[in-house]
Amino acid sequence: MNVKQLFERVPSDREAEERAWMVVRAAYAERERVRVPVARRRRLLLAGAGVALAAAVAAASFSSPGRAVVNAVRRTIGISNAAPALFKLPAPGRLLVSGSGGTWVVAPDGSKRRLGDYTQAAWSPHGLYVIGATTDGLAAVEPSHGTVHWSLARPDVLDPRWGGSRTDTHVAYLSKGRLRIVAGDGTGDAGISARSRVAPAWRPGNVRQLAFVGGDGRVRLLGAWRSAHRYADPRLLVWSRDGSQLLLVTARELVLFSARSGHAQTLHLRGVSAAAFSAQGQLAVVQRHAILVLNGEQTRPVFTTRVALRGLVWSPNGRWLLTSLPAADQWVFVGRRSVLAVSHIARQFGGAVSLDGWVPGA
């Protein structure tokens, strides 16, 4: 057998070909769609948004958290009758927060453990570890006692995100604005020659795919696709829990991408600063002073107030939403029939903190 015959026997992969063709066909269709006149395109986007966003929440069973509360718009800053301290979480799971007061893990019984002087943090995919960031580096930390497993000194570190399966994990982060990836055991740190304008986001599940918004404003899913459109003022990327859909939040719109094809559907909604998918697939967003739950193209306010809200996380069981009112130094838990508020957040956590994630486990 000569060399050429040997090469000819390298197998092709019919299934891979079909998968690739679906993606390429979708990209081509998107290219054709983008080429239609702008006015018509806007109509198409609006028409399509309902379909895609309906799909995003089709499985949702979350019944209007705090529907009654919508009518109880507060006339004062903050929520009255707030608890003076966080005595317990209203749902099982562990809450990760971080900010000027460092990184903390809150247990269901309200007990708090400070993990270190990290200004940003994120859970590992299964909540076994925490990746913390300072401006000078990263550290992988044991959440139960703060033991540092490994650390990595890098300049101007931001937005660490830990993704992967139980046997293959990676941490993506920004250093001087450029994306870098280090293996879950702290080895093999390397740049990937790309800038990201928002925190990168690992696709959930066993695939190793990282989404980010490049310097040109295009959304990229490494190893899969890149959006045809450039997005102005991107703010965040959020994956659905099953990894089938990727949400881009910009200053003016929500864009929902199919993970498989990269096909995008747009809902025009200004002023969204936070978004989260529940484990059940329900999408909620913070728009200025309100939390909205999305149902197709419909947005339903489930909580409103007079001051700006910041951050949003779902409880692991999907029954509570947590946001914060920095102006009132409060957290607000929005449930199906009640709202629970907690005051004196800065005092309890040594400063302002952001909501980094709420994962299962005691």
Binding site: A16, A20, R25, L128, G164, T167, D185, A190
Partner: protein, 181 residues
């Protein structure tokens, strides 16, 4: 090889027509281009990177790049070499990145990264034979023996001196001959 060279102008004309139709919005023409080039693009990537998932990604991304650049593509130029250049260069980049990004687990760390090897049969055999060569050498071998380019064409595709291409081919062939004995 000579037959392939004789047939190339005809293939190029057919491709040019398909590119033109795809530029005008024909999804069918695009599919014909895709079906025409996918097998060799995928196999070329597979031999260079020795990882079936990565090969699929690389070939797919290369086609996506082609779709994105379709409007700007000069139909007077052949489509195949342009696509193959993307495939091979991305394969080389991926191999370099993998070298940098070691994926090893730690015994005391339950959520480590794990080594990743997904390939089978003939591709693995080939890759084993070529293992001591760098990805740049493998790329030259692939372009010559899988994609049928001449050394001069390879030099043009990869922006390499002709002598470098020849030396890489010679070294790669020696390695393969040793393995195939």
């Amino acid at each position: 090889m000579e037959t392939a060279a004789l047939l190339r102008p005809e293939v190029d004309r057919r491709e040019a027509a398909l590119v033109r139709d795809a530029q005008r919005g024909s999804a069918r023409a695009l599919e014909q281009l895709f079906r025409l080039h996918w097998p060799r693009a995928y196999r070329a990537a597979l031999v260079v990177v020795n990882d079936s998932a990565a090969a699929e990604d690389i070939a797919q991304e290369s086609f996506l790049a082609a779709v994105r650049a379709l409007d700007r593509f000069d139909r007077r130029r052949p489509f195949g070499p342009w696509l193959h250049r993307i495939v091979v260069n991305r394969s080389i980049d991926w191999s370099r990145a993998r070298t940098l990004r070691r994926e090893l687990g730690g015994e005391s760390f339950p959520e480590p990264a794990a080594p990743e090897h997904e390939s089978g049969g003939r591709a693995e055999e080939l890759a084993t034979a070529l293992a001591d060569l760098g990805s740049e050498h493998r790329a030259v071998i692939v372009l010559r023996y899988l994609l049928d380019y001449t050394p001069g064409e390879i030099a043009a595709l990869l922006d390499l001196p002709r002598g470098t291409v020849n030396s890489r081919l010679r070294r790669g062939l020696d390695r393969l001959e040793e393995a195939l004995r």
